[in-house]
């Protein structure tokens, strides 16, 4: 597999679930009518006895997954991120998290890149509403390889985990040997002029931005913070101390999202100027995925602009 090849994280999610199912008979998967598109259909075909489809009923999806966890299984549920987190939010809060049940919740088709379906189907708020829940872990993998590691590792966690993934093909830029541990951020590129912290699809954009900045004589540290909760405070604080300025990047609402999570660490430990790239308090809309990313200013060049702006604030 060469760097630069593209593949959607949803394929990685589907493949990893089947791998897990082979090695662990407790893995159980629940769908809600979007089984093929969120790629849990492979698991369904391979392990029909450990799969149920609840239909278009997300409250029941979380409720039944909770019951399966009580019965001793490790249930994974997945549907579009808007529906797997928003509709049954209180079930996730009160049944799953308060009871500390071993339920893994996945949100597919996240971010603007769902494209033509428009705002109703573009999950831009789930990081916020999942990370505020006690006991919930929140992971946003950056590519096809990293989501496979995420799925495998999350099965070893005893308690609730939210995993965000996407529909569109995105670059594969990590490999099997890239370090991955839940809760540990990855420094992908060294530099001391500015720290760019990103999650999910924005990690690749950040790496490209760092190359553009290098041509301008600016050395950016790029950090992949796949685990938004529990967040790697040490890596964030060290970067703030050594670089003196932070740019965050997420394909998600800025309010309460990834940039907020990073800022919460910074203001308490090492306040430095912060610029946030993300969706700024507005809904998405229909359009081609690439066009939307440009329109909502989530491209590499927007990260470059944010860096140039923040360097003046240092």
């Amino acid at each position: 597999m060469k760097i630069g090849e593209k593949k959607a994280t949803r394929f990685g999610f589907g493949e990893a679930l089947v791998e897990l199912g082979e090695s662990n008979p407790k893995i159980f998967v629940l769908g809600a009518d979007t089984v093929s598109s969120v790629l849990i259909s492979n698991f369904q075909k391979r392990f029909p006895e450990r799969f149920i489809n609840v239909g278009i009923a997300e409250n029941n999806l979380i409720g039944m997954a909770s019951g399966l966890a009580i019965a001793g299984f490790i249930p994974f549920v997945s549907t579009y991120g808007v529906f797997s987190t928003g509709r049954p939010w209180e079930q996730i809060r009160t049944t799953v998290c308060y009871s500390n049940l071993n339920v893994k919740i996945a949100g597919s088709h996240s971010g603007l890149m769902v494209g033509p379906d428009g705002a109703t189907h573009q999950a831009l708020e789930e990081i916020t509403i999942m990370r505020c829940l006690p006991r919930m872990k929140v992971i946003v993998p950056c590519d096809f390889i990293e989501i496979k590691k995420t799925v495998i590792a999350s099965a070893c966690v005893d308690g609730p985990v939210y995993i965000r993934y996407g529909r569109e093909n995105t670059p594969i830029f990590t490999n099997e040997d890239t370090f991955f541990e839940i809760g540990k951020a990855n420094i992908l590129r060294d530099g001391n002029d500015v720290a760019i912290m990103a999650c999910g699809t924005m990690v690749y954009e950040s790496l490209v931005a760092a190359e553009i900045l290098k041509q301008k004589g600016i050395e950016a540290r790029v950090i992949n913070i796949h685990t938004i909760k529990p967040i790697d405070e040490k890596v964030i604080i060290d970067a703030a101390k050594e670089c003196g300025a932070v740019v965050t990047a997420e394909e998600h609402q800025i309010h309460g999202g990834f940039g907020s999570a990073v800022s919460e660490v910074l203001v308490r430990n090492c306040p430095v100027p912060v610029e946030m790239i993300g969706v700024n308090d507005r809904f998405g809309e229909s359009g081609d995925a690439c066009d939307l990313i440009c329109k909502f200013k989530l491209k590499d060049i927007n990260i470059v602009d944010a860096v140039l702006k923040i360097l003046k604030r240092k």
């Binding site: 409250n59 409720g63 039944m64 019951g67 399966l68 249930p75 079930q91 500390n100």
Partner: protein, 275 residues
């Protein structure tokens, strides 16, 4: 096998415990706790496979208290079965207690399967447990206690649909149909009737009983255990506040605590009913 006369004695003791613990707590829900006493005493002391000293035994039957606010009745039963020390009942709703105002799984009180209290969740949870048991080819049963007002929650009907779809004959829903909710009579606030017809239309086996008649309750649980294909709902007509004359059928006693004098009066009445 425990005799009916003994169950009557247990019911009296549970009712006394409910009143005493709520008075001590200074807040809580007497009405619905009292209306579900016979339904749960019959279940825990006669019908359910339950291991008080080993509550996580994988061969147990599962009980989900969907109407979590009536946890005093469950706590009193678990104490009576010696899952924990009876004295602990007096800690209800107090700081540091394992007996939270609504059941809390994370406080690790023996016998609590899941946190509940937000209405409308228990039937889905029960259906999930029941599916899991079937997938493991085991025979454990799953019981879920709900209220009649709770039937207004849409998630109940998502669960009702799936329980019939997956032929969960190991799932028994019990509706403590006391006819009252916080704001008044259920039929006036948002009518849920006809419950029997609704569940039947959803593909359930339905049983309607007097929820204070131990013989009828006994027969209903036996019928559930013999069911081969469908999930079972027992719609139990009950009296909110049952056993305490000044509380019976009065909406206000949903979540009100009696004064010292009224508490003594209630205890005296309950004791008299045993004679």
């Amino acid at each position: 096998m425990i005799e009916k006369s003994d169950l009557n004695v247990v019911c009296v003791n549970i009712r006394k415990d409910i009143i005493k613990m709520l008075y001590s707590a200074g807040s809580g829900h007497p009405g619905g706790s009292l209306s579900s006493v016979e339904l749960l005493v019959s279940l825990y002391f006669k019908h359910m496979t339950f291991y008080p000293k080993n509550v996580k035994n994988p061969n147990r039957d599962y009980f989900i208290l969907s109407k979590g606010h009536v946890c005093p009745v469950l706590y009193a039963i678990l104490a009576q079965l010696e899952c924990f020390n009876h004295d602990e009942l007096s800690t209800l709703r107090k700081i540091g207690s394992r007996l939270q105002g609504h059941p809390a799984k994370d406080k690790e009180l023996p016998g609590i399967e899941v946190s509940t209290g937000s209405l409308g969740y228990g039937l889905s949870i029960g259906a999930g447990v029941a599916v899991g048991i079937k997938k493991m080819n085991k025979n454990n049963k799953v019981y879920v206690l709900m209220g009649d007002g709770e039937q207004q929650e849409g998630s109940i009907w998502e669960a009702a649909m799936s329980a019939a779809h997956y032929k969960l004959n190991n799932l028994c829903a019990i509706i403590d149909d006391n006819g009252l909710q916080i704001d008044g009579a259920t039929k006036d606030i948002m009518n849920v009737e006809p419950l029997i017809h609704k569940y039947r239309a959803f593909g359930w086996s339905t049983i309607e009983i007097d929820g204070h008649n131990l013989e009828e309750i006994d027969k209903a649980y036996l019928r559930f255990k013999a069911e081969k294909e469908k999930p079972t709902v027992i719609v139990a007509k009950t009296i909110k506040g049952k056993g305490v004359s000044f509380m019976e059928n009065i909406t206000d006693w949903h979540g009100k605590i009696p004064s010292k004098e009224l508490t003594e009066k209630a205890i005296t009445e309950i004791e008299k009913s045993a004679q």
